[in-house]
Each structure stands twice: as C-alpha cells, then as structure tokens.
Amino acid sequence: MTVTASRHPQLRRRRKVDAPPWVAVLFLAPTLLLFVGFLVYPMFMTVWLSFYEWTGFRIDTPTFVGLENYDRIFTKDPVFWTAFRNTLIWLMLSLAVPTVLGLLLALGLNNRIPARNLMRSLIYIPGVMASIAVATMWVWMFNPISGFVNSFLRLLGLGNFAQDWLGNPDTALLSIFIASVWQGTGFGMILFLAGLQNVPTELIDAAKVDGANRRQVFRAVTLPALRPTTVVVIVLTLINSLKVFDLIVGMTGGGPVQSTQVLALWSYTSSFTNHQFGLGNAIATVLLAISLLLVVPYMIWTIKGDRE
C-alpha cells in the first residue's frame, strides 16, 4: 500500500477520497436491522425467557422464576440428559463417519475413472433434498414389513436381524443416523473434491521424483494441502449436528420413549408442544452455549487470518 502511494502521489489523497463512515452505515443498514431484529433480539430473548415461567400464549404474562428452569432441566428432567447425550453421540458420529467417508470418496473420485461424474452426482443428490423428505423416505426404507432394509436382510438370509428399526429404542438413533450419513456424505465429498483441486501438482511430481511412494505423497503433500478444507468440513459438521432436527422429527419424533431426543428437538417440544416456554428456552440456552463454545475459537482464527 505505501509503495503504491509513494509511486503515485495522487493516491496519497486516498483517505480523503474514501467514503465517510455514515455511507458504510447505509450499506449495512438492511442487514443489521434484520440481523438485530430477527436473530440477535430473539437470541437474547431466549436467554431472558429462560428465567421465566410462561405458557407462550399472549393472554398469559411470564413470571420470573430465577434459575428454577435450569434446576428442573439439570436435576429433575431425565429427558434433558438423554437429549444431551444423544446430541453428543450424534456430534461424535457425524465427525467420524460422513466426514471420513466423504474424504475417501473424494480421494477415489478424484482419479480419472469411468462414470465418475455420474457417481459424484448420485452421491451428492441426497444432499440437495429436504431433510424432511429424506426422513419420510427412510421411514419407508425401515418399514418392518415391506421396507427395503428388512426385505434385503431376508434376501441375504439374515432374516433374524430384521426388526422394527425405528420402534426399538436400541436401534432407533443409529437408524436415523444412517439416513443422515446417506444425506450428508456427498456434501463433505464435494468440499474435499474442491479442496483436492488446490493440491499443487508440482509438489506431488517433485515428491515422486524424490522417490516418495503413494502413501508418503499423501501424508506429506495431499493431507497438509487439505487442512483448510478439513477445518471447514469439521466446523460445518459441528454446526449441522447441533441443528439436527428435521430427520428426527420426521422419523421418530424423538421416540420411542424419548430415546432419540436431541437438545434442539427437546427445546422445541417443551416450548411448542408442552407450552413450557421457560423450560424450552432454558434448553435452547444450553444449546446456544454449546454452539458458542464450539464455534467461537474458529471465528477468532478466521478473523485473525483476515488481518494478514
């Protein structure tokens, strides 16, 4: 910047030519109004209302109860801890399965093999479908009588394993997760494929000239080049697994016997089905805290990187 300015004296006046701050405010106004009115304000209201008891109906007024809602969810509400545990399980599984599968598929489909575009598309397509449609599809896939899963097991002679996948508390969450893998793997794959295009081919060639084998090239060149992509995939996976809602609503509604509850859905159920807005918002506040805990480090990292 200084070099340019000294070379072209007229550019030294840049500061004067720059728009005054109020112009920036005008450009930001629509975004900030929407953002504050319909995202920041509701978020603060969530925290605020978590200290109140309220049915959510306009005719009722919220009454202040202090920390009572938190006391209830932490010590008296067994479903909260099921939901909490399931959210964590979901998060771990999502970090492990679809991401690794997506990376493997990206590495495979980055090779010049026949029909690779068709394969990429078919694996990605579930990702553009509405989660609620995916949920409905998989309810039918898992149908105990005529569903595909059980019929296929019987075909393989594994009829003993055929069961009511979504009606059994031991298998319900995992069955929903399978639908989630089906839907989400393509997204990670596309991101990793995009990341693989940034791997410098000169470096790979140079490593090969130096006698590195495939595995060494992968570890020394490909993996480091994929690091930014990996960070993005991990952050998006974290966010998406905290949001998981549609699939569960559509497949089990949180049941059987609340065995597939997660925090996002339990908060919704408490507020809207049980009309306990305070309780629902206390659960939402916990979810908010977890989200911030997970994403703020990433934010700081990104903003710092911007400085360079």
């Binding site: 840049r14 701050p21 112009v23 920036a24 450009f27 930001l28 975004t31 900030l32 929407l34 953002f35 009115g37 995202l39 920041v40 304000y41 509701p42 978020m43 969530t46 209302l49 959510g56 495979g108 093999i113 394969m119 598309s121 078919l122 990605y124 397509i125 553009v128 509405a130 989660s131 609620i132 449609a133 409905t136 599809m137 998989w138 039918w140 005529s146 595909f148 019929s151 596309i190 991101l191 960070v231 966010i239 949001k243 809602f245 549609d246 609503v249 559509g250 996002a264 859905l265 908060s267 919704y268 507020s271 809207f272 939402a284 506040t285 908010l288 989200s291 994403v295 934010m299 911007d306």
Partner: protein
C-alpha cells in the same frame, strides 16, 4: 481383496515370467480395479433408496403389500402422482414455497452483498467486530431462537403469514452470504477502488458497477444454494406457519404422512414430487454447487 487374488494368476505374462515380472503394473492395476469396484458399490448403495422410492411411487397398494420391494410394478400406477398432488394440496404448497423462495433469495443476496461490500471495501469504526458478529450468526442453530421468533411474529401480527416468515429467513440466511461475499470482495485489488474513485465514481457506483459484477459467479452459486435451502427449510416453517393454506412443501410432506399413512404408493409419489424441483435445479446448475463448495472451502 478377492479381485486381486483372482486377477493376478490369470494375467498371461504373470504365468510366463514367474512370480513378479511387472511389479509396477500389478501394484497399480488391481488397486485401481478394487477402487472402481468399491466406488461402484457405494454408488449403487446410494442410489438404492432413490430407486426404491421411485418404484414404490408407481405401485398399487396390493402390489406393495404382496411383492418384493425391488420387483417392478405389475401395473405402472402413474395416477398415484396426480392423486397425491390433489390429496396433499401439492400445488398450494409449491406456490407458497416458490413465492417465499423467490422473494427471500434475491433480497437476501442484495442486502448481504451491500453489507459485505461495506465490510470489505469501506473504512469505518468497529468494522472487524461487525464482521465477526454477523458471521457468528451463521453458526448458531436456528432452533435456539424459535420460541422468541414465534412471540415476535405473534406481536407483529405476522404469525402464519408468508410475509412474516421472510424476516427470520432473511436474518438467518444473511450471515453465511455476507461471510462468503466478504471473502470475494476482499480478494479484489484495492487499486481498482482507488482508480475508480479518481475517475469520480461514488460509493454506490463502485459497488454496483465495479465490485458486484466481479462477484457474479459467487452470486450465482449463492442464489442456487439459497434457493434450495429455502425450499427445503423445515423447522422455522413448522414453528411459524400453522394453517395448510400457508404451508410450504416440507410441511406438506409431514402433513401428508400423518393424514394418509396407509397409502404408501401415493406418499412416495408425493415425496418424489416434492424433491423434483430441487433435483431439476441441481441438474441444471450443477456447476454452481461445486463453485459454492469452492467458495466455502476457501478460508474467508
């Protein structure tokens, strides 16, 4: 594994020249084949639910009950589609979803490009903090705010209206778009602004004539991605839209599922109908999905 053991001995040269005549070939050849096989199997597994849903959607009730899931329909019941569309009020839902998406997406992109331009190209106090706070919005699960959004819209008398739901849709969509567009605008060389300013361009001209056109590829990708996301959105719609005349397509799916559980063929026809628009959008604008992924993968 089996591919390797089967293929190696039948290789004619392998038989002629002893145990390992062409180690490079063999080492490359069979893993390549296994890779292809693995990928093909994965793809088939991925396509299976789609095929199953399609087959079910063109079968009669008795066909579904009596025959295997992968059997072809004994009679092709295409009328399942027309019947499902009528019973499930498909066109009302599609019109609502289209109206919401086609208003939300252009406005959202316009607003977020304005904001991203200010954040990337203008100097003002608290610039970095503003960027950070807006970007943080993209990382918050929407379910956190559903309760208060409900009461806010209730107080504004906008609950259960398409206009009302636009506001939270815009607010929750803007963050991500600002973040991506900020990255794009940031990459444009500063010198461009300076020379435009010297030529007498004001800030609006700079935004509208110079910076925005440069971001066309990103805007196109964001348009498509946001259209699909809006079309598919479920949790906000579930909380904020309440009567069938306002329902969007995703709400109609669950509605159909609970009302007409017994009619599996029609239910699957309904699912096919509801995903068809986004499938068409995907097939037409496939490259934008990849570009969108690209812009997301580049660290803003």
């Amino acid at each position: 594994m089996s591919a390797r053991t089967n293929l190696a001995p039948t290789h004619p040269r392998a038989l002629q020249k002893g145990p390992a005549p062409h180690p490079r070939r063999q080492r490359r050849g069979s893993p390549q084949l296994m890779l292809g096989l693995g990928l093909a199997l994965t793809t088939i597994a991925w396509a299976t639910p789609l095929i199953f849903i399609f087959l079910t959607s063109v079968k009669s009730q008795s066909d579904i009950a009596n025959n295997l899931p992968w059997s072809l329909p004994t009679t092709w019941e295409w009328q399942n589609y027309a019947a499902a569309a009528e019973r499930g009020d498909f066109w009302t839902g599609a019109a609502n979803s289209a109206a919401i998406s086609l208003i939300k997406v252009p406005f959202g992109l316009f607003f977020s490009s304005l904001a991203a331009f200010a954040l990337a190209r203008l100097n003002f106090p608290m610039r970095r903090v503003t960027l950070g706070v807006i970007a943080l919005g993209a990382l918050i699960p929407v379910q956190v705010a559903l309760g208060p959004l409900f009461s806010t819209l209730l107080n504004l008398d906008l609950l259960n209206t398409k206009i009302g739901i636009l506001f939270p849709y815009l607010a929750f969509g803007i963050s991500y778009q600002v973040f991506i567009l900020y990255g794009f605008f940031r990459a444009v060389p500063r010198e461009l602004d300076e020379s435009a300013r010297i030529d007498g361009a004001n800030t609006w001209t700079l935004y509208w004539r110079i910076i925005l056109p440069l971001a066309k590829p990103a805007l196109a990708a964001l348009f498509i991605l946001d259209f699909v996301a809006t079309w598919n959105e479920y949790s906000m719609a579930l909380a904020l839209l309440q009567t069938p005349d306002q329902f969007t397509v995703p709400l109609n799916i669950t509605n159909f599922q609970t009302q007409f559980t017994a009619n599996i063929g029609q239910l699957n026809a309904y699912i096919m109908l509801s995903v068809l628009p986004v499938l068409v959008v995907y097939l037409l604008f496939q490259r934008y999905f990849v570009q969108g992924a690209f812009s997301g993968a580049i660290k803003g």
